[in-house]
Assembly symmetry: C2
Homo-oligomer: 243 residues x 2
């Protein structure tokens, strides 16, 4: 039985079920574990000795919240993250997560439609964590992200994308050609259909899906190693080793 | 500068500050990370191949909540936890955390003042996670915990205690002699004064304390390794290796 790749609709359904009265998870819990998984993935592939400066790019939705949590954990791990979040989400949780980063003295670039601050930040970064768009993304890419994606690509910095590379259609992948080409992808809960064509290092996070839920949705998840929050999906394809 | 051991009052103050408007953490977040740290500690010392059956003993307060989170993560790690929580806390969060365990088919012993169910469960366990009393514990030990503590000790099973061994005074340790004698202790945020006399394997969890807070309270925390959620405080005293 092979790993199931999720449609946008199914990903949404699983997310809702996790947070339903039945699933009983709070958004705070799921985001904490998802963001920790993202931070662990980045830290597995890019060591802080060689890639200390992480530009964490956050979208306005829950994906951006995962990015804020990841930024905090990366700071705890000894990295020097900087947050670019041009359109902060309105949910109260984003403000709390951002305050937690500010308390750690993680710089947050002032929200703006201007793209220059991003350009400047890229020049001072070693690796990008792309938490811009998630599984609820629908094209087209709107301002200022339409200008940001080409800039991120042009930087030639390594990119770690969360759940689905930003700009990709959740189901059809990068057929429009406007999306990022990340080196690393960390899928959350289960990979999305659009990521089938991704051929970099692919990790899975979201170690909170119960066996019952895995069976109900025929997810066929791989086994996570030890007490890690992430598992690499295709480590045998890689020359640089696994977790 | 050596690690600071906290009074009950100071531990309370740090906890409140973490969850204040300034600290911006939610109880959900802190409990998730604390419980994960407890699960990682147990899994570091007692492997699932030799100690698969974990009896998670939960008190009625936040400490019990940490235990519920730890039980879930232990289940995710491949252990077979069983929860003994004779007096479930009334806070809504405990009900959610318990539902998450039930969804994972983790058995929860029916709440009761009777001690027999605990005795039966002990006979089918390999290791105990003691999440009964935390830093807000004040003697005396009340029923049914007054009968439970001697039973846990008499079982001769290895015990991993959370924050302060149950029955110990948070500041004065086990001077009354009614407390557990755990093999492993996982202190959260910073160790408590009463744990100074503890001489088993001692871990620290709570990788969410900012540098600013660490300095404000003169905590002198050790560095956590890699992306672990726990650090062993005295690994050089141990023959069985570190993380």
């Amino acid at each position: 039985m092979s790993l199931r790749y999720l449609s946008a609709k199914l990903a949404q359904q699983i997310d809702e079920e996790l947070m339903s009265t039945t699933g009983a998870f709070s958004l705070d819990q799921l985001m904490e574990l998802a963001g920790l998984a993202c931070a662990q993935t980045l830290a597995t592939v890019y060591k802080k000795e060689t890639h200390p400066r992480v530009l964490v790019c956050c979208g306005p939705g829950n994906q951006g919240g995962d990015g804020l949590v990841a930024a905090r954990h990366l700071g705890m791990f000894g990295y020097s993250p900087v947050i670019w979040m041009p359109k902060p989400g309105s949910k109260e949780i984003y403000q709390r997560l951002q305050s937690q980063c500010v308390n750690m003295k993680i710089p947050v670039i002032a929200p703006s439609q201007e793209i220059d601050p991003l350009r400047d930040a890229l020049a001072r970064s070693d690796v990008i964590l792309d938490a811009i768009f998630g599984f609820s993304f629908k094209p087209p890419v709107r301002s200022p992200f339409d200008a940001a994606l080409p800039l991120l690509s042009a930087s030639k910095l390594p990119i770690v994308s969360v759940d689905i590379p930003s700009g990709w259609d959740v189901e059809k992948g990068n057929e429009a050609g406007v999306g990022l080409n990340p080196d690393v992808l960390v899928s959350l809960t289960a990979p999305k259909e659009g990521s089938k064509e991704f051929n970099g290092r692919h990790f899975l996070g979201g170690r909170f899906v119960t066996k019952a839920m895995e069976e109900k949705f025929h997810l066929n998840l791989p086994e996570y190693p030890g007490f890690a929050q992430v598992v690499e999906l295709n480590p045998s394809n890689q020359s640089t080793g696994k977790l």
